[in-house]
Protein backbone atom coordinates (compact mmCIF):
# COMPACT_ATOMS: atom_id res chain seq x y z
CA UNK A 1 0.00 0.00 0.00
CA UNK A 2 2.79 2.39 0.98
CA UNK A 3 4.70 1.46 -2.17
CA UNK A 4 1.65 2.39 -4.28
CA UNK A 5 1.48 5.73 -2.53
CA UNK A 6 5.18 6.28 -3.16
CA UNK A 7 4.83 5.46 -6.87
CA UNK A 8 1.87 7.83 -7.26
CA UNK A 9 3.53 10.65 -5.35
CA UNK A 10 6.64 10.28 -7.50
CA UNK A 11 4.58 10.13 -10.70
CA UNK A 12 2.55 13.24 -9.89
CA UNK A 13 5.50 15.24 -8.59
CA UNK A 14 7.40 14.47 -11.82
CA UNK A 15 4.42 15.72 -13.84
CA UNK A 16 3.84 18.78 -11.68
CA UNK A 17 4.85 21.81 -13.71
CA UNK A 18 4.59 25.48 -12.87
CA UNK A 19 2.69 27.34 -15.58
CA UNK A 20 4.16 30.67 -16.62
CA UNK A 21 1.81 33.64 -16.31
CA UNK A 22 2.33 34.91 -19.90
CA UNK A 23 -0.10 37.80 -19.40
CA UNK A 24 -2.87 35.66 -17.90
CA UNK A 25 -3.18 37.74 -14.70
CA UNK A 26 -3.26 40.93 -16.77
CA UNK A 27 -6.08 39.53 -18.93
CA UNK A 28 -8.06 38.52 -15.82
CA UNK A 29 -7.68 41.96 -14.22
CA UNK A 30 -8.74 43.64 -17.49
CA UNK A 31 -11.94 41.56 -17.52
CA UNK A 32 -12.89 42.35 -13.93
CA UNK A 33 -16.15 44.23 -13.66
CA UNK A 34 -16.49 47.33 -11.47
CA UNK A 35 -17.68 46.53 -7.97
CA UNK A 36 -19.42 48.65 -5.33
CA UNK A 37 -17.01 50.78 -3.29
CA UNK A 38 -17.28 49.69 0.32
CA UNK A 39 -14.61 52.04 1.71
CA UNK A 40 -17.36 53.86 3.66
CA UNK A 41 -17.20 50.95 6.16
CA UNK A 42 -13.66 52.00 7.06
CA UNK A 43 -14.72 55.64 7.56
CA UNK A 44 -17.68 54.65 9.76
CA UNK A 45 -15.44 52.54 12.01
CA UNK A 46 -12.81 55.31 12.08
CA UNK A 47 -15.44 57.88 13.09
CA UNK A 48 -16.81 55.60 15.82
CA UNK A 49 -13.27 54.98 17.09
CA UNK A 50 -12.50 58.71 17.11
CA UNK A 51 -15.73 59.50 18.95
CA UNK A 52 -15.01 56.88 21.63
CA UNK A 53 -11.41 58.10 22.02
CA UNK A 54 -12.54 61.71 22.32
CA UNK A 55 -15.19 60.81 24.86
CA UNK A 56 -12.68 58.87 26.97
CA UNK A 57 -10.11 61.65 26.68
CA UNK A 58 -12.51 64.38 27.80
CA UNK A 59 -14.02 62.33 30.61
CA UNK A 60 -10.79 61.16 32.20
CA UNK A 61 -7.70 62.67 33.77
CA UNK A 62 -5.33 61.26 31.14
CA UNK A 63 -4.20 64.67 29.87
CA UNK A 64 -3.61 66.06 33.37
CA UNK A 65 -1.65 62.96 34.36
CA UNK A 66 0.43 63.10 31.20
CA UNK A 67 1.27 66.76 31.83
CA UNK A 68 2.20 65.84 35.39
CA UNK A 69 4.51 63.10 34.16
CA UNK A 70 6.15 65.38 31.59
CA UNK A 71 6.79 68.02 34.24
CA UNK A 72 8.80 65.52 36.25
CA UNK A 73 10.87 64.17 33.35
CA UNK A 74 14.11 65.86 32.43
CA UNK A 75 14.00 67.75 29.10
CA UNK A 76 17.00 65.70 27.89
CA UNK A 77 15.07 62.43 28.22
CA UNK A 78 12.20 63.91 26.22
CA UNK A 79 14.56 65.21 23.51
CA UNK A 80 16.36 61.85 23.43
CA UNK A 81 13.06 60.03 22.97
CA UNK A 82 11.98 62.44 20.21
CA UNK A 83 15.21 61.86 18.28
CA UNK A 84 15.32 58.10 18.89
CA UNK A 85 11.76 57.49 17.72
CA UNK A 86 12.34 58.01 13.96
CA UNK A 87 15.62 56.12 14.20
CA UNK A 88 14.08 53.06 15.87
CA UNK A 89 10.99 53.31 13.67
CA UNK A 90 13.07 53.31 10.49
CA UNK A 91 15.23 50.42 11.73
CA UNK A 92 12.13 48.42 12.68
CA UNK A 93 10.52 49.04 9.32
CA UNK A 94 13.72 48.07 7.48
CA UNK A 95 14.04 44.84 9.44
CA UNK A 96 10.38 43.91 8.93
CA UNK A 97 10.59 44.52 5.18
CA UNK A 98 13.94 42.79 4.61
CA UNK A 99 13.59 39.46 6.31
CA UNK A 100 16.83 38.17 4.85
CA UNK A 101 19.00 40.69 6.66
CA UNK A 102 22.27 39.82 8.30
CA UNK A 103 23.47 41.46 11.49
CA UNK A 104 27.11 41.36 10.39
Amino acid sequence: METNDKILKQFFSENKKEIADNGFSHRVVNHLPETVDRSWIVWIFAAIGMAISLYLLLNSTIIEQLLLVFRHISIYYILGAVFCFPLLGTAGYYLSQNKNYQII
Partner: protein, 180 residues
Protein backbone atom coordinates in the same frame (compact mmCIF):
# COMPACT_ATOMS: atom_id res chain seq x y z
CA UNK B 1 3.99 34.93 0.25
CA UNK B 2 2.06 33.70 3.26
CA UNK B 3 -1.60 33.33 4.13
CA UNK B 4 -1.29 36.66 5.97
CA UNK B 5 -0.67 38.26 2.57
CA UNK B 6 -3.80 36.50 1.28
CA UNK B 7 -5.92 37.96 4.09
CA UNK B 8 -4.47 41.43 3.51
CA UNK B 9 -5.16 41.30 -0.24
CA UNK B 10 -8.63 39.82 0.25
CA UNK B 11 -9.49 42.63 2.71
CA UNK B 12 -8.27 45.25 0.23
CA UNK B 13 -10.35 43.70 -2.56
CA UNK B 14 -13.45 43.27 -0.37
CA UNK B 15 -13.38 46.80 1.04
CA UNK B 16 -11.98 48.92 -1.75
CA UNK B 17 -12.44 46.71 -4.82
CA UNK B 18 -8.65 47.06 -5.18
CA UNK B 19 -7.74 45.49 -8.52
CA UNK B 20 -4.00 45.69 -7.81
CA UNK B 21 -4.47 43.52 -4.72
CA UNK B 22 -6.53 41.09 -6.80
CA UNK B 23 -3.78 41.07 -9.43
CA UNK B 24 -1.38 39.85 -6.72
CA UNK B 25 -3.83 37.09 -5.76
CA UNK B 26 -4.16 36.08 -9.44
CA UNK B 27 -0.39 36.03 -9.93
CA UNK B 28 0.04 33.82 -6.86
CA UNK B 29 -2.68 31.30 -7.72
CA UNK B 30 -2.80 31.30 -11.53
CA UNK B 31 -0.32 28.45 -11.88
CA UNK B 32 -1.98 25.91 -9.52
CA UNK B 33 -5.49 26.75 -10.74
CA UNK B 34 -4.57 26.57 -14.44
CA UNK B 35 -2.64 23.34 -13.85
CA UNK B 36 -5.67 21.88 -12.04
CA UNK B 37 -7.92 22.72 -15.02
CA UNK B 38 -5.32 21.61 -17.57
CA UNK B 39 -5.21 18.19 -15.95
CA UNK B 40 -8.99 17.95 -15.55
CA UNK B 41 -9.51 18.82 -19.21
CA UNK B 42 -6.75 16.35 -20.13
CA UNK B 43 -4.56 18.96 -21.76
CA UNK B 44 -6.99 21.45 -23.30
CA UNK B 45 -5.00 24.66 -22.77
CA UNK B 46 -7.49 27.24 -24.16
CA UNK B 47 -10.44 25.67 -22.30
CA UNK B 48 -8.51 25.46 -19.04
CA UNK B 49 -7.48 29.13 -19.37
CA UNK B 50 -11.11 30.15 -19.96
CA UNK B 51 -12.23 28.17 -16.91
CA UNK B 52 -9.42 29.64 -14.81
CA UNK B 53 -10.39 33.15 -15.91
CA UNK B 54 -14.03 32.47 -14.99
CA UNK B 55 -12.89 31.15 -11.60
CA UNK B 56 -10.92 34.30 -10.80
CA UNK B 57 -13.73 36.60 -11.93
CA UNK B 58 -16.23 34.67 -9.77
CA UNK B 59 -13.80 34.87 -6.85
CA UNK B 60 -13.54 38.65 -7.34
CA UNK B 61 -17.31 39.12 -7.49
CA UNK B 62 -17.98 36.91 -4.46
CA UNK B 63 -14.96 37.77 -2.35
CA UNK B 64 -17.14 39.14 0.45
CA UNK B 65 -18.54 35.63 0.96
CA UNK B 66 -15.06 34.36 1.91
CA UNK B 67 -15.36 33.89 5.68
CA UNK B 68 -11.79 32.83 6.34
CA UNK B 69 -12.93 29.57 7.98
CA UNK B 70 -10.82 27.62 5.49
CA UNK B 71 -7.73 28.83 3.69
CA UNK B 72 -8.13 31.17 0.73
CA UNK B 73 -6.60 28.51 -1.52
CA UNK B 74 -9.28 25.97 -0.46
CA UNK B 75 -12.02 28.54 -1.13
CA UNK B 76 -10.57 29.27 -4.57
CA UNK B 77 -10.36 25.56 -5.46
CA UNK B 78 -14.00 25.20 -4.37
CA UNK B 79 -14.98 27.84 -6.95
CA UNK B 80 -12.75 26.17 -9.55
CA UNK B 81 -14.39 22.81 -8.87
CA UNK B 82 -17.88 24.30 -9.32
CA UNK B 83 -16.84 26.12 -12.50
CA UNK B 84 -15.45 22.91 -13.96
CA UNK B 85 -18.54 20.84 -13.15
CA UNK B 86 -20.91 23.55 -14.44
CA UNK B 87 -18.92 23.57 -17.67
CA UNK B 88 -18.92 19.76 -17.91
CA UNK B 89 -22.68 19.66 -17.35
CA UNK B 90 -23.24 22.33 -20.02
CA UNK B 91 -21.11 20.40 -22.51
CA UNK B 92 -23.04 17.21 -21.86
CA UNK B 93 -26.32 19.03 -22.48
CA UNK B 94 -25.26 19.99 -25.99
CA UNK B 95 -23.29 16.94 -26.98
CA UNK B 96 -24.86 13.56 -26.45
CA UNK B 97 -21.63 11.65 -26.86
CA UNK B 98 -19.57 9.72 -24.37
CA UNK B 99 -16.82 11.25 -22.23
CA UNK B 100 -14.04 9.63 -24.20
CA UNK B 101 -15.25 11.41 -27.31
CA UNK B 102 -15.55 14.71 -25.42
CA UNK B 103 -11.98 14.35 -24.20
CA UNK B 104 -10.77 13.63 -27.73
CA UNK B 105 -12.84 16.49 -29.10
CA UNK B 106 -11.37 19.08 -26.76
CA UNK B 107 -7.86 17.74 -26.51
CA UNK B 108 -5.58 20.13 -28.34
CA UNK B 109 -1.86 20.35 -28.70
CA UNK B 110 -0.10 22.70 -26.33
CA UNK B 111 3.33 23.11 -24.83
CA UNK B 112 2.62 20.43 -22.23
CA UNK B 113 0.92 17.86 -24.46
CA UNK B 114 3.83 15.66 -25.40
CA UNK B 115 5.51 15.42 -22.06
CA UNK B 116 2.22 15.01 -20.21
CA UNK B 117 0.80 12.29 -22.40
CA UNK B 118 1.34 9.68 -19.68
CA UNK B 119 -0.50 11.62 -17.02
CA UNK B 120 -3.42 12.36 -19.35
CA UNK B 121 -3.67 8.70 -20.31
CA UNK B 122 -3.61 7.74 -16.65
CA UNK B 123 -6.22 10.35 -15.68
CA UNK B 124 -8.55 9.16 -18.44
CA UNK B 125 -8.84 5.83 -16.63
CA UNK B 126 -10.52 7.53 -13.70
CA UNK B 127 -14.04 8.79 -13.19
CA UNK B 128 -14.38 12.60 -13.01
CA UNK B 129 -14.71 12.62 -9.20
CA UNK B 130 -11.72 10.30 -8.83
CA UNK B 131 -9.68 12.51 -11.18
CA UNK B 132 -10.50 15.58 -9.10
CA UNK B 133 -9.67 13.95 -5.79
CA UNK B 134 -6.46 12.34 -7.02
CA UNK B 135 -5.26 15.60 -8.59
CA UNK B 136 -6.05 17.61 -5.48
CA UNK B 137 -4.40 15.06 -3.20
CA UNK B 138 -1.30 14.03 -5.13
CA UNK B 139 -0.59 17.05 -7.30
CA UNK B 140 -1.97 20.02 -5.38
CA UNK B 141 -1.02 18.59 -1.96
CA UNK B 142 -4.43 19.16 -0.38
CA UNK B 143 -5.42 17.20 2.73
CA UNK B 144 -8.44 14.90 2.90
CA UNK B 145 -10.48 17.43 4.89
CA UNK B 146 -9.59 20.26 2.50
CA UNK B 147 -10.71 18.13 -0.44
CA UNK B 148 -13.96 17.35 1.38
CA UNK B 149 -14.55 21.11 1.77
CA UNK B 150 -13.66 21.79 -1.88
CA UNK B 151 -16.01 19.09 -3.17
CA UNK B 152 -18.60 19.61 -0.44
CA UNK B 153 -18.80 15.88 0.30
CA UNK B 154 -18.15 13.65 3.34
CA UNK B 155 -14.59 12.79 4.32
CA UNK B 156 -15.31 9.07 3.85
CA UNK B 157 -16.34 9.63 0.24
CA UNK B 158 -13.07 11.47 -0.45
CA UNK B 159 -11.09 8.60 1.04
CA UNK B 160 -13.03 6.10 -1.07
CA UNK B 161 -12.36 8.07 -4.26
CA UNK B 162 -8.66 8.25 -3.42
CA UNK B 163 -8.50 4.54 -2.76
CA UNK B 164 -10.27 3.66 -6.01
CA UNK B 165 -8.19 6.13 -8.00
CA UNK B 166 -5.00 4.82 -6.42
CA UNK B 167 -5.84 1.24 -7.32
CA UNK B 168 -6.55 2.05 -10.97
CA UNK B 169 -3.48 4.26 -11.36
CA UNK B 170 -1.15 1.80 -9.67
CA UNK B 171 -2.24 -0.96 -12.06
CA UNK B 172 -1.75 1.35 -15.06
CA UNK B 173 1.64 2.64 -13.89
CA UNK B 174 2.92 -0.81 -12.99
CA UNK B 175 1.90 -2.12 -16.42
CA UNK B 176 3.60 0.87 -18.04
CA UNK B 177 6.78 -0.10 -16.18
CA UNK B 178 6.74 2.95 -13.96
CA UNK B 179 8.62 2.76 -10.66
CA UNK B 180 10.78 -0.19 -11.72
Amino acid sequence: MSSTDDIRWVTQVALFGDKNAFDKITCKYQSPIRRFFLNLTVGDGPLSDDLAQETFIKAYLNITSFKGLSGFSTWLYRIAYNVYYDSARAQKKYADINEYEIDNLYQTQNEFSAEKMDIYKALKLLRKEEQTVVLLFYMEDKTHSEIAKIMNCPLGTVKTYILKGKEKLTIYLTKAGYGN
